[in-house]
């Protein structure tokens, strides 16, 4: 049982699609290869699929008298669910978030169906060392109901009334068009990406913590326009970036690049000193989180700008310096 196996590979998937679509033309073969393959697959795969005079092809297609290509197989290609895939599904059943997707009856039926399968891993073999301890109540009936109502609304483009509490404790009830759902492993929480609706038009962009939602009500109305998540992300994006300099001291470059791997960024490395100068892009509402994350690197990372961001860092550092009231001896290198 192996994860890195050719039957899960792009070339096998291409071949299955081609056999499924047969009879087809050479051009259609190329289109499938372009859609399903890697960037350069059109250079390698068609010659193995199309019948070759020297027999160097895979022997899966033959040429019809009219020039089209037919499958040598008699049935549509079938790919059974593999043991690895079943064991993965079984392992997922023990995650509390799994129940969000099902009603109790369906969840019980799926559990029964996989009863004889051993899970790929036991959940206790993973420990998340710094996950926040106040994650969402995934198994609570009301939370599950909200999750499923929002998921349904996303799929049907339904406009719903959502009542929730803001971070500041205010209670808001407005009409929204749910677009997508975000999960953070660090916070162990879900958030809803949505657009507010005024009349029949989409207005602002929003993010709502699912844990703060009190009620989701159908309005009976649906949005019939195109939905673009790209447009949503552009609306949310803060055009301001923060610029930092990271030195090579204490392995900071490696630590920084790893920790901030998920960020949109422009990184320049001085080839001689190894020092990085990085522009990090972020959502405005994540500014405090980013600030404390950057400060946790200590003196091996310097926030260069913009001025107001740097000033926030400076204010915290100076306050810290004063709080400790260090004497001369304590200020010297250890």
């Amino acid at each position: 049982m192996t994860l890195f196996h050719e039957m899960y590979g792009a070339y096998f998937r291409i071949a299955a699609r081609v056999l499924d679509a047969a009879p087809l033309t050479d051009r259609q073969v190329n289109e499938i290869v372009a859609a399903e393959g890697f960037r350069d697959s059109v250079l390698f795969v068609p010659q193995k699929l199309l019948p070759q005079a020297d027999g160097s092809d895979w022997g899966l297609l033959r040429r019809n008298p009219d020039g089209t290509l037919a499958a040598v197989t008699k049935h549509k290609p079938v790919m059974p669910l593999t043991l690895l895939q079943k064991r993965w599904l079984k392992a997922r059943l023990s995650d509390p978030k799994m129940q969000l997707f099902f009603d109790d009856e369906t969840f019980a039926a799926l559990t029964d169906a996989l009863a004889d399968v051993s899970p790929l891993w036991q959940p206790e073999l993973f420990r998340y060392t710094d996950r926040f301890s106040d994650g969402d109540p995934f198994t609570e009936p009301a939370y599950r109901a909200h999750f499923r109502a929002l998921l349904h609304a996303i799929r049907t483009k339904a406009i719903v009334q959502i009542r929730f509490q803001t971070g500041g404790g205010r209670r808001i009830a407005m009409q929204y068009l749910p677009l997508a759902i975000e999960y953070s492993r660090k916070n162990d929480k879900f958030r809803l990406y949505c657009r507010s609706v005024r009349g029949n038009r989409l207005a602002g962009s929003g993010i709502i913590n699912l844990g703060r939602i009190e009620q989701v009500t159908e309005t009976g109305r649906h949005y019939d326009g195109e939905i673009s998540l790209t447009e949503y992300f552009q609306m949310r994006r803060n055009r301001t970036h923060v610029t930092v300099r990271v030195t090579t001291e204490r392995n900071a470059v490696e630590r920084f690049l790893m920790e901030f791997a998920s960020y949109e960024k422009h990184t320049e490395r001085d080839a001689e000193t190894g020092t990085l100068t990085v522009k990090l892009y972020y959502d405005k509402q994540d500014e405090t989180e980013l600030l404390i994350q950057l400060l946790s690197f200590g003196p091996v990372l310097e926030i260069l700008g913009p001025p107001d961001f740097r000033a926030q860092a400076a204010e915290r550092v100076l306050r810290q310096y004063e709080l400790l009231g260090l004497n001369k001896e304590e200020q010297d290198a250890p």
Partner: protein
């Protein structure tokens, strides 16, 4: 680029390259000292093919190396999964795959002799029995086929369940698979299920998402299986320093695996294990580990696991400490100030982030966080997220406290006073 193939035989070598291209996008050819320049060119071409929409590099600017990456939170499908779709194979492999499954598609059990004959008569595909037998056995092990002995002969039958049938039978399962297909542990398996049914994840996004972790999924199953079977496991580990030495063979270990420790904030993951030779627990960086092999059963596994879980009460991050070096370590006591009326969120933050620590109110607007950790340095690293609020640091070691004070002074010099001219 004669001889270039999009496909790869082994995952480990490519895993190194992709990780380096992704994490250190700005790494230049000369820094990959362990491999030839031809290998570098091939691996770079693959990396660019898989990561083209996510990261770009330009190592040609004078004295600078530049990389530009997009926000992983805005990508609905991990592009590194493509690495798992690049396993090389022979012409016979792909031909036998489609022809054998075609012969078995009607669900009737058939034996080796019949299948070999039918390959020849129905598809003009001539294979020796040994080749067909090997493929049938392989596919039985992978779960695509079942085999049943009738008399003295094995009969093979195709497994009737397909992903499409399962997703149709259990409403909601398609969405669940979409969601978990982006999980950092084995999400790639979910993505493979989706792709086999023509589905894609289009609505679930991840924040704080380390897409590079998928590259370690190739080594994880061996650890998880060894832990489940209470066995030891052998591997080599190459630190960042060892990776830069072309002749390095890394360190060789035989350990008793306990858990995978994942930091959801730093992106690092570790194998926590007991090292019998050194009689101690240690956390090994997963991304530095190579050549993993299950070894002998560990007769003392249950007792070691009990000790391990007892020890976890003193592990703040992943470090089991170096008591021999540090000597006795006192609990670290951080005193933190906050405004009781306007900064309740700081108290909440301390509660959710304190891990093994205990939080107590010490006075109006003052709280103490006591952490009895094997390695106080891990506590102090985290404490820097509270810069501006720490009234005092007690306990730990003298060196630890000295380093914290020194760092604060350096930061004060960095940000403080009239000399602050770094603003851009």
């Amino acid at each position: 680029m004669a001889g270039f193939s999009e496909l790869i035989k082994t995952f480990e070598k490519t895993r190194d390259y992709i990780r380096d291209f992704f994490i250190y996008g700005c790494k230049a050819r000369g820094e990959f000292v362990r491999k030839s320049s031809r290998t570098y060119d091939d691996e770079k071409r693959r990396a660019e093919s898989w990561l083209g929409d996510v990261i770009r590099y330009d190592d040609s600017m004078h004295g600078r190396q530049v990389s530009i990456s997009v926000d992983s939170g805005h990508i609905p499908e991990n592009p590194l999964y493509q690495a798992y779709g690049a396993k090389s194979f022979t012409d016979n492999d792909i031909r036998l795959h489609f022809l054998l499954l075609d012969l078995l598609a009607d669900g009737r059990p058939q034996n080796l002799r019949t299948l070999t004959d039918r390959l020849s008569t129905e598809y003009a595909a001539v294979f020796d029995e040994q080749t067909v037998r090997n493929k049938l056995r392989e596919y039985t092990a992978e779960g695509l086929l079942t085999s049943e002995i009738q008399g003295k002969t094995a009969y093979y039958r195709i497994v009737p369940e397909t992903a499409a049938k399962l997703l149709a039978e259990y409403p909601g399962l398609d969405e669940a698979v979409r969601f978990y297909s982006e999980d950092e542990e084995f999400g790639v398996i979910g993505a493979q299920i989706l792709r086999s049914t023509g589905l894609r994840n289009d609505i679930f996004y991840r924040k704080h998402h380390y897409i590079v972790h998928t590259l370690e999924d190739a080594v994880l199953p061996e650890f998880l299986a060894a832990a489940a079977e209470k066995r030891r496991v052998c591997f080599r580990t190459f630190s960042a320093k060892a990776q830069r030495r072309p002749d390095s063979e890394g360190g060789s270990f035989e350990v008793v695996p306990m858990q995978i420790l994942a930091s959801v904030q730093t992106g690092r993951r570790y194998l926590a294990a007991y090292i019998p030779e050194q009689k101690r627990f240690h956390a090994f960086r997963l991304d530095f580990i190579r050549n993993v092999k299950r070894s002998v059963p560990e007769p003392d596994y249950d007792r070691l696991a009990e000790v391990y879980h007892r020890n976890l009460a003193h592990v703040f991050g992943v470090s089991f400490g170096m008591r021999r070096d540090l000597g006795a370590v006192e609990p670290v006591i951080l005193t933190i100030t906050l405004n009781e009326h306007t900064e309740g969120y700081i108290r909440e933050r301390l509660e959710r982030e304190k891990r093994i620590g205990s939080l107590e109110k010490a006075g109006e607007g003052l709280y103490t966080l006591t952490v009895d950790a094997f390695d106080p340095n891990e506590v102090m690293h985290w404490s820097k997220t509270l810069i501006g609020r720490i009234v005092s640091v007690e306990g730990g070691t003298k060196q630890m406290r000295g380093r914290f004070y020194y760092d604060i002074c350096r930061m004060r010099n960095m940000y403080g006073g009239d000399a602050d001219d770094a603003v851009s």
